[in-house]
């Protein structure tokens, strides 16, 4: 009898746990389905390649796409070298000491700083203090600091999963420490590092708050000419369309959301493919 009760209790509990899981997963599927079904009605060649017209109530979103592309590229240019080198330091050089612990805490903290605070930081340091003005340069630098923890964490994990013996063989052949890292460790960690880079890319593409005061232009129907120009960006454009401009067709907003989500989910899928491809190829 007692055992029967326990079994019954288990069934009930598991049912509710399953229900809770559905409460997360079903809305996600619905959100994606709504964006696709309503966004795809405006999605055509003109929407992707034309300038916005009539106060952004018609036309395309081309400058926002280009702006996001520039921002993401700029972010990676700054964040990748620092992030990978930082991961190399943590994985290959650092010892278990106070400095390492403080670095780890700093990384955790960078990951937890609210995105709008990054915006303030970028405004204070890059826009005002270094006098870059609201520009692609200032925005990219701000986003680069923001995605740094993502790249460091992913790269560090990738480096640490390379077996110790690889390093030992390289040393035994007379290689120096840097030669070992460069030729025996880094190549094997590359897929993991690439995954981290793609994840940070999609994070940088989707963030709005850090670019609000550092780069974003409300309406700029031309392409930026230099890194000191302002630019439009997809997330900010969606924000403007849905809250700042009256009487915008909902379909245009869904379309913009679809392009943004499509880019990000696409990037994430590529990361998954890379990961599984190299996991299958891995020989150790």
């Amino acid at each position: 009898m007692k055992l029967g009760n326990a079994k019954l209790e288990e069934k009930v509990v598991f049912f509710f746990l399953f229900l809770s899981t559905l409460m997360i997963v079903v809305p996600v599927v619905l959100v994606i389905a709504v964006i696709i079904s309503r966004g795809s009605s405006v999605l055509n060649w003109e929407f992707l390649t034309a300038m916005p017209r009539s106060g952004m109530r018609a036309g395309g979103i081309f400058p926002a796409i280009v702006g996001t592309f520039y921002l993401v590229a700029g972010t990676l240019i700054f964040a990748l070298p620092i992030g990978i080198f930082s991961a190399i330091y943590l994985s290959e050089y650092s010892k278990r000491n106070l400095l390492t612990r403080i670095i780890e805490l700093a990384i955790v903290n960078l990951a937890g700083v609210p995105s709008v605070v990054y915006g303030l930081f970028g405004l204070g340091l890059f826009v005002v203090f270094l006098k870059f003005g609201a520009s692609i340069l200032a925005g990219s630098l701000t986003l680069a600091v923001m995605v740094l923890p993502v790249i460091i964490t992913a790269s560090r994990e990738a480096l640490q999963s390379v077996p110790k013996t690889f390093r030992e063989v390289s040393y035994s052949l007379g290689a120096t420490k840097w030669q070992t890292i460069r030729h025996a460790v880094l190549p094997h960690a590359l897929p993991g590092i690439l995954t981290g880079a793609i994840l940070s890319l999609s994070r940088a593409a989707g963030e709005t708050a850090p670019i609000l005061f550092t780069v974003a232009a409300f309406y700029l129907p031309r392409l930026p000419k230099s890194v000191f120009d302002q630019a439009m960006a997809l997330p900010y454009h969606l924000y403007v369309l849905s809250t700042q401009v009256p009487n915008v067709r909902l379909e245009l907003q869904y379309g913009t959301a679809l392009v943004l989500v499509g880019l990000i989910v696409g990037a994430n899928l590529i990361a998954v493919v890379i990961r599984s491809y190299f996991r299958a190829k891995k020989q150790w």
Binding site: S86, I88, L125, L148, Q253
Partner: protein
């Protein structure tokens, strides 16, 4: 020559290694640099506990109590909703779901984490807000309740993925020992697995809360942004993050309003710093024990 090259490379590696510390310090310094200017005009106490936020009245009144309370209300609401659901989901995915289902559910949760907050805010604005308005017969659906639901949704991926890691870290032998004694799977989870993973679960909840406090765009779009001291979940509220994002574009550089927004940034930075510190400490405590 080679020696020199290596020396330079290793120097760069070391500098990059401590770059994270440098950036945290830089963020802190630049928030302080602008934010502290405010306190030449306004007292700290008046700023933190002033009940009126009228930044553009003459003279401006810069009390952020309504904003702090707005953030707290929305965070509290989101925590109440997201923690039970998130924890339950993590248990289901980590312990109960069969392999194929687990992968699908995990992909769903990860997909949620990948959707930008601006997109969720937009969807919330056109679906959730009218729904809340209709169900509760309110004059507006832009309320603390809508914000809490939205934020709960955004905190769940953090809670689920970190808690699932914590569950995975519980040694298999613990479960096998319990089942061998005749316990059911649920008894094992409740009495053995969850207690062993407790510090990881606490960290997961803390990081989820950290995410909620810092969330900006979605919350700005659907909480209504009225800077009043909140009295119920069915009223519009304004959070600290939304205030910075909404008003920074309209301030004059060097005005008290401008400095006040940076000062709010200091408060936010301090709160998330403490939250993350606690989360990290409870994660490390687990590592030390096992």
């Amino acid at each position: 020559m080679r020696k020199y090259y290596e020396f330079v490379v290793e120097g760069l590696i070391f500098i990059s290694g401590i770059a994270s510390i440098i950036f945290v310090l830089l963020i802190f310094i630049f928030l302080l640099k602008e934010g502290l200017m405010l306190f030449r005009q306004v007292g700290v106490f008046e700023f933190l506990f002033g009940e009126h936020w009228y930044p553009i009245s003459e003279p401006p009144r810069l009390g952020i109590l309504p904003l702090i309370l707005g953030s707290l209300w929305v965070t509290f609401g989101a925590t109440v909703i997201s923690v039970p659901i998130g924890v339950a989901c993590a248990i289901y995915i980590g312990e109960i779901a069969p392999g194929w289902l687990r992968e699908i559910l995990k992909a769903g949760v990860e997909l949620l984490a990948a959707i930008p907050s601006i997109v969720l805010g937009f969807i919330g604005l056109v679906t959730l807000v009218p729904l809340v308005k209709k169900i509760f017969h309110l004059p507006t659906g832009l309320t603390a309740l809508s914000g809490s639901i939205m934020l709960a949704f955004m905190a769940m991926p953090t809670i689920v993925s970190i808690m699932e890691d914590a569950l995975n870290a519980v040694p298999r032998g613990y479960r096998e020992g319990s089942v061998a004694m005749g316990a059911t799977k649920w008894q094992t989870i409740r009495r053995i697995v969850l207690p062993s993973a407790s510090s990881g679960i606490i960290a997961a909840v803390m990081l989820g809360i950290g995410r909620v406090i810092g969330e900006t765009m979605a919350v700005m779009m659907i909480t209504g942004n009225a800077a009043m001291i909140p009295k119920s979940f069915f009223q519009p509220v304004r959070t600290m993050t939304a205030t910075i994002a909404a008003e920074m574009g309209e301030t004059v550089q060097g005005s008290d309003h401008y400095f006040a927004l940076f000062a709010i940034g200091i408060v936010l930075f301090a709160i998330t710093f403490v939250v993350n510190l606690f989360a990290d400490m409870s994660l490390h405590q687990k590592q030390a024990r096992v």
